[in-house]
Amino acid sequence: MQATESVIYNRAGQRVVSPEYLLFEAPRTKHFMTGSEAVKEAVRRASVDASVSYPITPQSEAAHLIGELWVEGYVGVYFRGESEFGVMSEIAGCAMAGARTITTTSGPGTLRAFENFPMWAGTRIPVQLVLMARGVNSPLSIQPDNLEVGFLLDTGCMIWYAENAQDLFDMILAGFVVAEQPDVHVPVITVVDGFFVSHTREAIMLPPDDIALPPYNPYRAPMPVIDAEVPPGRFLRDPFVMKSNYISYATHASWQWEVRSAIERSRPYAKRYLKGLIEEFGDPSAELVFVACGTAAAQAKEAVRLLEDEGIKARVVKLKTIRPFPVEELKGAVKNAKYIFVPEFNVVGWLEREVRRYLYGHSDAEVIGSPRVAGGMTMPAEVIVQEVLKLTGKEVKHVL
């Protein structure tokens, strides 16, 4: 950005800088805050046009804070919708009308909103949903549990997974950049484990708040924006259910492939703006590998340290994107693995399924869907270690 003579400002009066500058080059200072506050700081620097909110624990605070940004003039349109179903529809309306749009939800709210997600993808809107995963009924739980992410995998939205507040901050900014590429232009769901990130305070490095992403240009969208400013006039922002001839299966099939293609096209962009689709931690020569995302990856990193104390080499392959799934990266990362542990915060083990599916025929390692906790249970590193020692037949020396 720097060398240019003309300086551009966004509507909030912030200096517009390139995504590369904002994400990688701008000087950063340390702040101590929660994940929810990190959402606010990301939105503040994202030239966001619109946001609609609805309360549900644990995402409410993030939604309140975006409201504060509206008061402060950083966000153009903000209001509380009637329910998550209504909110996700309102969000769709905002995005169709040409706005950079963000919202947040959790657990049961995700399920209530569900009908909207494939619609979002099918209508090619680059909205961002910050999902602070929590348990779903029944019985009622407000605890961290990411079962809902398993349901979202095939909605046609990109799914990114942040480990901590820093990840989340950077991902929200990168999310807009990648989702709005004309050849991608599908929604991005940036997931964090609710509470574990939203309510946890930690140090986070932030660029200054007087610079921001370039504003969204709706006229680069792959579908005409709904603002009566672009042709064609006759234009339906949806596939065709009408009883016309010749149009049913072929188009619908092609349309679905196109949405999935869009996700595939996001790979090079995501690689660039997330600095890789995976992150590796620990001893590269280790044969014991944890493949995980979010808090499970964090806990696995702690477990790697404890295992080191036991004299066992281990490492973590953290997946930053689930859709697109980092197939090639994962295959490369587990080349020498003997044991692949997939620790998860849900009862079904959706990530284990994904890992097995993509590694099938490509790895001789034993894939172990463990440890797995659910219902809000925590996953202490000590438990991971115990499980690893048990399942690999190693001697348990460590006393808990």
Binding site: E90, A92, F235
Partner: protein, 286 residues
């Protein structure tokens, strides 16, 4: 940008089919005094549709499309149902999203357009059936009224779920036998026009589409008031001749009968709306 987006590049005019050229040269754009009396001569903004022969809903659509005061800057949001079979054939930006979320989508569109184009008029009009408006979409409909969204909601009340094969809806009259109410509907027709008033609409009208001119006036009032004041609601009786067992030429007669009873013309105008309507009358736009 307005109707300029329909202007064909001169260099490519010769390759455009007649119906598209007609849209540029024979349709009514940029004239707030347009109305149903243009129908016999002009190119309509609705091309062709796949609704049943004789369907009163399609009459309603013709009148509404002919009456929009500023079609070039009007966004239509619709919902699932018979109406969604028509919208692809309308020469405007239209959105079909999900069944029942039309007022929510419209809220998002309206607020963003107001923010993006503070100096322009951008009308957002919701057109949906009774199932979409009052049953599955009730929450979104009412909440958009509560929030005072500046949109016009038009409900095509055919008193039945027609597109799915004739099931009872909240707006079916008591006692009427439809699928899913095999013993006859057990409870009263929902008086939604009244609920709309209580929920904050500034202009509410209930009518059949037996009089094109009346539909025109109502639609114009509803849109002008929504533009300046807040939500407006129009409740139109558009009987499903198929589901109530009438012939294709019986629709108009059916509506004329109902004009005398449960769809007798009814209009509510708030004080703020009165002011707008009077002003528009003085300007010769109503």
């Amino acid at each position: 940008m307005s109707y300029k987006i329909y202007e064909i590049n001169e260099d490519l005019l010769d390759v455009m089919p007649q119906e598209i050229r007609d849209l540029q040269f024979r349709a009514t754009w940029g004239n707030p005094k347009r109305g149903v009396m243009d129908l016999p001569y002009s190119k309509e903004l609705i091309e062709e549709h796949s609704l049943c022969a004789g369907c009163p809903e399609s009459m309603a659509l013709r009148y509404i499309l002919a009456s929009l005061p500023s079609p070039e800057d009007t966004i239509i949001v619709n919902s699932t149902g018979c109406t969604s079979l028509v919208f692809p054939h309308i020469a405007l930006h239209t959105v079909h999203s999900l069944f029942g979320n039309q007022n929510a989508v419209a809220s998002g569109i309206k607020r963003v357009l107001e923010w993006r184009f503070p100096d322009k008029v951008k009308d957002v009009v919701v057109l949906a059936g009774d199932g979409a408006t009052v049953d599955i979409g009730l929450d979104c409909t009412l909440q958009s009224f509560f929030r005072q969204e500046k949109i016009t909601t038009i409900c095509f009340d055919n008193e039945v779920y027609a597109n799915t094969g004739g099931q009872e809806s909240g707006l079916t009259v008591k006692g009427h036998v439809f699928k899913m109410a095999p013993k006859g509907k057990q409870w009263d027709k929902v008086p939604f026009w009244q609920i709309a008033i209580d929920s904050g609409c500034h202009y509410v009208a209930r009518l059949t589409v037996s009089s094109p001119k009346r539909v025109e006036t109502v639609i114009k009032k509803a849109i002008y008031v929504a533009r300046e004041v807040g939500p407006t609601y129009v409740h139109l009786y558009t009987p499903c001749i198929l589901e109530i067992g009438l012939n294709s030429d019986d629709g108009l007669d059916e509506m004329r009968q109902r004009d005398k009873e449960r769809f007798a013309f009814f209009e509510y105008v708030s004080d703020a709306a009165k002011e707008v309507i009077e002003r528009k009358k003085e300007e010769g736009l109503l």
